[in-house]
């Protein structure tokens, strides 16, 4: 789950990492100037899109708030605006901590050039970190790398708190970009991106604006003609691949998951029938934890309950297949022997 800047900075502040003084602000609120007004949208490239405004004079504040609340950035309009103190920037750096798939561990990345262009930079320096006690040495090396010997203590503290913040919040990424060195020689987190591990939500109270991204139902082509339902992420991906190969236009990726039952499947059907060009539904289930008879029951229920259900092309195999076959046969629902015959049969009914 991706956090908005103000939410991420709140977690940094809780972990004793310096952030600018700030307030959430709405129309009608007054604050002393100068300040920086920032749109809180869950996407990058906000600065370039005009989502950050420097306010020097008090009379400019209300028009700027009004403007930002209406400004759409990459399809997002903000619910929240953040007003921050204006910092006297001496230097902009980059610092992040993340789960590194390649080494199956935690890594800290640094770059001497922070700021908006960092995606295009190469030449990051990185450190693996396994425990908090390594933070002191890494902080020292960061000071050398940034060529800021006067900030050694600050960077040691920062690294230690950064690691703590990462672990305690079950984060998978925290990026401070830029990490600002002010004219007053303070290190402050200028902007922050943070991603938390949805799987860890059971041990946190998370109340953030963005909800966890849906991972099991993804629209690929809303104009497509064939919906796909499969179980297991791999099989769902493979079903989409095979539908493309067969010349169909798949609308979606849908993994109904292990142990899916009648209720989950009915919900899936209800969402799928909303695609406007939908002409066929491919069901490709290989039952392991899922039981094929549950799927069969759901199919029968869907046929009875959902109006305008396009033709279903069903391929089932695995656990409780015989029971499923019996249920479907009793209800006059055809079963196809494999995915290819299901795709082929679907192609026959599609007319665009």
């Amino acid at each position: 789950m991706k956090l908005l800047e103000y939410e991420a900075k709140h977690l940094l502040k809780t972990a004793h990492i310096p952030v600018p003084m700030s307030r959430l602000i709405k129309l009608g609120d007054t604050l002393p100037t100068p300040l920086v007004l920032k749109s809180q949208v869950p996407t990058g490239g906000r600065g370039k899109a005009g989502g950050i405004i420097m306010i020097d004079k008090p009379e400019d504040l209300q028009p700027a708030i009004d403007k930002l609340l209406k400004l759409e950035i990459k399809g997002f309009t903000p619910k929240t605006l953040l007003a921050e103190e204006k910092l006297n920037i001496k230097k902009e750096l980059y610092l992040s901590i993340l789960i590194d798939r390649w080494s199956a561990g935690i890594k800290i990345f640094a770059h001497k050039n922070g700021g908006v262009e960092v995606e295009e930079n190469t030449g990051f320096t990185s450190w693996s970190i396994e425990k908090k006690s390594q933070a002191e040495a890494i902080g020292q090396q960061l000071a050398d790398y940034y060529e800021l010997p006067g900030q050694t203590f600050a960077l040691q503290d920062l690294t230690e708190n950064f690691y703590d913040c990462f672990v305690k919040n079950d984060a998978t990424l925290i990026e401070i970009n830029p990490l600002i060195l002010t004219e007053e020689e303070n290190l402050v987190a200028g902007d922050c991106k943070m991603t938390l591990d949805d799987a860890a939500s059971f041990r946190h109270v998370w109340n953030f604006e963005e909800k966890p991204a849906e991972v099991n139902f993804v629209t690929i082509n809303p104009e497509g003609n064939t919906a796909t339902i499969a179980n297991g992420a791999g099989l769902a991906m493979a079903t989409v691949d095979a539908a493309y190969q067969a010349g169909l236009k798949p609308t979606n990726f849908l993994d109904i998951g292990g142990g899916a039952n009648e209720a989950t499947l009915l919900k899936a059907f209800e969402r799928i029938v909303k695609y406007k060009n939908l002409q066929a539904i491919i069901i490709n289930i290989f039952a392991g934890i899922t039981r094929a008879d549950e799927v069969a029951k759901a199919v029968v229920a869907a046929k009875k309950q959902i109006n305008n259900l396009p033709p279903l092309f069903i391929r089932l195999a695995g656990t409780n297949y015989e029971a499923a076959e019996k249920i479907l046969t009793e209800n006059n629902v055809a079963l196809l022997p494999n995915l290819e015959s299901a795709l082929h049969a679907a192609k026959e009914v599609i007319h665009d």
């Binding site: 789960i99 798939r101 390649w102 199956a104 561990g105 935690i106 396994e130 672990v167 079950d170 998978t172 591990d197 799987a199 860890a200 059971f202 041990r203 991204a213 991972v215 099991n216 993804v218 690929i220 499969a230 179980n231 297991g232 992420a233 791999g234 099989l235 769902a236 991906m237 493979a238 989409v240 691949d241 095979a242 493309y244 190969q245 798949p250 990726f253 993994d255 998951g257 292990g258 142990g259 290989f286 039952a287 392991g288 934890i289 195999a317 695995g318 656990t319 494999n338 995915l339 290819e340």
Partner: protein, 288 residues
Amino acid sequence: MTNLFEGKNVIVQGMTGAHGSFQTKAMLAAGTNVIAGVTPGKQGQEIEGVKVYDSIKAIQETNQVDITVICVPAPYAKAAILEAINAKIPLIIIITEGIPVHDMLAVNKALKGSQSTLLGPNSPGALLPGINKLGIIPANMSRRGNAAIVSRSGTLTYETMAGLTDKGIGQKYVIGIGGDIIHGMGYKECLELFENDEEVDQIILIGEIGGQDEIEAAHYIKGCVTKPVFAYIAGHHAPEGIQLGHAGAILGSALESADNKTKILAESGVKTAGSITELITFIASARG
């Protein structure tokens, strides 16, 4: 070296749960020697005639444990895995899906220098038809033989296995390494096992978008695998930056795409297929 997957005494952690008991029954039906189950606080219960204990230690007082299959819910998985590592169980198979990444990092730390090998998490386990069913891979769709499958996806594994069985091609190994970012055994360890097992004559690798495990596997195959390898990578039409089901199935860069992985595997001498059906056709025709 003794083959970890042929270990005799198997336990199930989380046996009293809905999935745990269902899969215990299926494992017993396939002939797996499930000697006991573990669920803290449920000692004295029986599942399918198998006794449940509070801890692994309680089982080890009277029995050696070779393999554990872990089906406990994600919030308790870390503790269950650490218990298995501490109990020095040689092979730990984690079926549980949705274990927090930081918990798996802690598990990885405990694993270093231990005597245990990990398979999973978010893995369907391993099936050696006629020898051992360790996890949830349906045995009735398999048949004993000489092919070996390694996969990141559960259902795609079953699909491939069933397709081979249909063609009369049996399997020595069917192994799911799991779809999570942080996991135990990878392609490399499985490829090494298959290469060194004289009974294996064809190797099948199934991958998906996200991460670089398949690329690492391709390099290993080029350098160290002499047996024929067949591969299919799922997700050729995956949108960038969006997770598809598995925690690890997210396209971070073009490097991690199905197209690129397929290309690199092909360059490493692997016969690559565009779909599971095509994959099975290739394997069958290679046998003649």
